[in-house]
């Protein structure tokens, strides 16, 4: 018997979503999920480890292939209920190397070693009497068990399934691995802990750690987004040219180079965030979420993620007025607050007219006879909001995406998500950091940290909202 930590074997008929459930509960997208029955041929362990100590372990197992034959073998031995476990163990011992019963041996071995049983069925398909043999075998094992109703399709046969499963399992729960969220996840873990009294404490501890794990992931994502904004806004791109007279082709070339560098930074951040949320299994080459060819510098991207012209004007006015107010303060009000007013007008109009321009292109003289053309840091006031909007959109969808989903999502984008998080107060706080990032100076740790906290707060609220 395994006493060190609880083990849960996810068992059932082939192709009923066992691997999907394990993938969703273990937050691991490397589980091979296929509609070809018999894809899982070996049990696979998914331990929840904290600093190397296993708190509980999920086991993905192959489905029953010859349940009637196994049951027939067990029933040949007429024994009292208290001896049934011994007969199941005997079956394992006798058939350990029999390829015919490989799948049954793989799934029964951990169960007989003390693992709790999580029996998975697809409640979107009708109940069938052929399931009774495997449920009876599980009853023979005498291990604590529960049933999970999975819904692979939209149809619902839960009522007939519950009626049948109720005769074999004390607890029957519904769990859709494709639409799982944190609360549903925790609720299933709580049910699992009820299977055995001594499992309550370690699983409860795991639930607390899961909450902490999610906070860690949100913080790390926010930190990556903050870093993206900092690097992108302060980015300077240089390209050597032949003379001090900049030709149009040099300007275009340096701008293309600048834009592709910014696109690369965004893509790299997306990959890092996917890795944080365990959505970056090595075999995946494509991005999980695509922006449907919505380029970072497209008008559409600006319309969906950026500020509206009105918001942009207000942002420009506020930041301009703040600079002007600083001048007023230096002159102790002797400027009759004209600094603030002029700053607001200049800032506002600058923001309005500078809607498309990214940054100034300068020519720098280097050694004798060599020149370089330079672009950056980012001057466009709308760009940080477009970049941040896209990053938050991506991180939010990755954070709420089930690990059982294998398809590449083409996200339909509109500005509704932006409306949920971008308030006037927040915009002001963000703008003050954007201004520092845009300055091209060395950025203090505190600026990056305070920006990370702002993004963290946005992500936390968005994720919480979907759970409510």
């Amino acid at each position: 018997m395994i006493d060190s930590h609880p083990q849960f074997a996810v068992v059932g008929h082939p192709n009923k979503g066992k691997s999907s459930i394990v993938s969703a509960l273990a937050l691991d997208d490397s589980v091979h999920i296929s509609d070809v029955p018999g894809t899982t041929t070996k049990q696979r362990s998914f331990p929840l480890k904290v600093d190397g100590v296993i708190l509980y372990e999920l086991l993905d197992t192959p489905g029953f292939q010859r349940a009637r034959r196994v049951l027939a073998w067990l029933q040949k031995h007429e024994v009292s209920a208290d001896k049934r476990q011994d007969i199941v163990q005997k079956f394992i011992n006798v058939h350990q190397f029999d390829p015919k019963f490989n799948d049954e041996i793989q799934l029964l071995t951990p169960v007989m070693a003390g693992a709790g049983i999580i029996y998975v069925v697809d409640a979107s398909k009708p109940y069938g009497e052929e399931y009774e043999a495997e449920m009876e075998i599980l009853r023979w094992t005498g291990q604590p068990s529960m049933a999970l109703l999975n819904h692979i399709e939209d149809t619902d046969y839960s009522v007939q399934w519950k009626r049948a499963l109720g005769q074999y399992f004390k607890m029957v729960r519904t769990f859709n691995p494709m639409k799982t969220d944190r609360l549903q996840h925790i609720s299933i873990l709580e049910s699992m802990s009820q299977l055995k009294e001594e499992w309550i404490a370690p699983v409860k501890k795991s639930i607390v750690l899961f909450e902490r794990y999610q906070k860690q992931m949100i913080h790390q994502s926010a930190s990556k987004i903050s870093r993206l904004l900092e690097e992108s806004l302060g980015l300077i791109e240089k390209r050597s040219c032949d003379s001090d007279k900049v030709e149009e082709k040099d300007k275009e070339a340096v701008e293309i180079q600048y834009k592709s560098h910014l696109r690369l930074l965004e893509k790299e951040t997306q990959k890092k965030i996917e890795k944080i949320w365990n959505h970056a299994s090595v075999k995946k080459e494509q991005a999980l979420l695509t922006f449907d060819e919505l380029d970072l510098f497209s008008e559409e991207s600006a319309a969906v993620f950026g500020l509206t012209r009105k918001e942009l004007m207000i942002t420009g006015v506020t930041s301009g007025a703040m600079t002007g107010a600083g001048i007023d303060l230096v002159f102790a009000g002797h400027t009759l607050l004209l600094g603030g007013i002029i700053g607001a007008v200049v800032g506002g109009t600058g923001a309005y007219f500078g809607f498309k321009e990214l940054s100034e292109i300068k020519v720098l003289g280097q050694r004798v006879g060599t020149y370089s053309v330079q672009i950056g840091p980012m001057k466009n006031k709308n760009f940080p909001y477009i970049l941040l909007g896209r990053a938050i959109f991506h991180a939010y969808h990755i954070a709420t995406r089930s690990h059982a989903i294998r398809d590449i999502e083409d996200l339909s984008m509109d500005s509704t998500l932006k409306e949920q998080w971008l308030t006037d107060t927040l915009r002001k706080s963000l703008e003050s950091s954007h201004k520092i990032f845009r300055s091209g100076d060395t950025i203090g740790v505190e600026v990056g940290e305070s920006y990370t906290l702002l993004v963290e707060d946005i992500l936390e609220k968005l994720i919480q909202r979907i759970e409510e």
């Binding site: 009637r68 799948d103 902490r212």
Partner: protein
């Protein structure tokens, strides 16, 4: 760094100053005096000096100039009586050295030393801050402070794909009659309904698999002959239990036509994905007696 070095140099300058004072006291007979253009009385000057000497007055009361000493050492450029008084008290004028030494030690050396320590501290803080601002350092620190939580499998999984081999014989139309119709985990009543819908003519109907015992299935196989139509639930994957049954049945009969059906709610039309799963599995058998029939082809509901 610059501030730290400046404080270091200043500290040594102050130490030098203290040493020079000690040297002068030791080697020369110095008569100290004080004077001012301002109207300051010895009492007023005394109270200022008491205030200045407060940091060491408790430990070295003799290093605090007395009112008497101040009065004696008051030097005026004009006037005979005062100069005569100073001459009389010349021996006591040297007592000032204790005050001057304590003032140098405390105000020049001790306070400078404190400033030097502050600059060292500030320098260390600045280094720490600059290290923290380096890319990745913060992440490492966070990783060290936070528990490392992992949920994934230890070993990576090799994807297991069934290699598709073999050809499946697909028929387009039903036979006029079958020697037997069987349903895998389907009651006879369901078989009657399906036969009725598909206009299948057969008097020998059996439920196989499902809750049947293996013995019952063997008896059905023994009774089977000729051509068999075998209905299967399209939504359930073909298990090895089914394959075992089919292989045993194929020994006894001439031909088995397998037809996956859908759910009643779907008017028994199976999903394309399930047809694919069944046809793929049956093709793997590569058996010339096995035929496959699509529900929608050659059948009208």
């Amino acid at each position: 760094m610059l501030i730290k070095r400046a404080q270091f140099v200043a500290l040594f300058f102050s130490l030098g100053l203290g040493l020079a004072l000690l040297l002068m006291i030791a080697t020369q007979d110095i008569a100290f005096a004080w004077s001012t253009t301002l109207q300051v009385s010895p009492q007023g000057f005394h109270s200022v000096l008491v205030c200045v000497s407060s940091p060491w007055s408790f430990y070295f009361p003799s290093a605090v100039p007395s009112l008497e000493l101040i009065e004696q050492s008051h030097y005026f450029r004009l006037g005979d009586n005062l100069s005569q008084k100073m001459i009389n008290d010349a021996s006591s004028l040297g007592a000032w050295w204790k005050f001057l030494l304590c003032a140098t030690i405390f105000y020049a050396i001790f306070l400078r030393f404190c400033l030097y320590l502050l600059s060292v501290l500030g320098f260390q803080l600045a280094i720490t801050k600059s290290i923290l601002s380096m890319e990745g350092v913060k992440q490492i620190l966070e990783d060290m402070n936070e528990p490392i939580i992992s949920t994934h499998a230890i070993e990576s999984m090799d994807s297991y794909e069934v290699v598709h081999t073999g050809e499946l014989q697909i028929i387009d139309a039903f036979r006029d009659s079958y020697n037997g119709v069987q349903g895998w985990a389907m009651p006879v009543e369901k078989l009657l309904v399906l036969n009725d819908i598909l206009s299948i003519n057969s008097q020998v109907l059996y439920e196989v698999g499902g809750t049947n015992s293996l013995k019952v299935d063997s008896e059905i196989i023994a009774k089977s002959q000729g051509e068999i139509l075998l209905y299967v639930k399209g939504w359930e994957p073909p298990t090895m239990d089914f394959i075992d049954y089919l292989e045993e049945l194929l020994i006894e009969v001439d031909r088995v036509t397998v037809m996956p059906i859908g759910t009643e709610e779907n008017s028994y039309i199976p999903m394309p994905k399930s047809i694919e799963v069944w046809s793929r599995k049956l093709a793997l058998l590569e058996h010339n007696k096995v035929y496959f029939k699509h529900f929608t082809q050659g059948s009208d509901i």
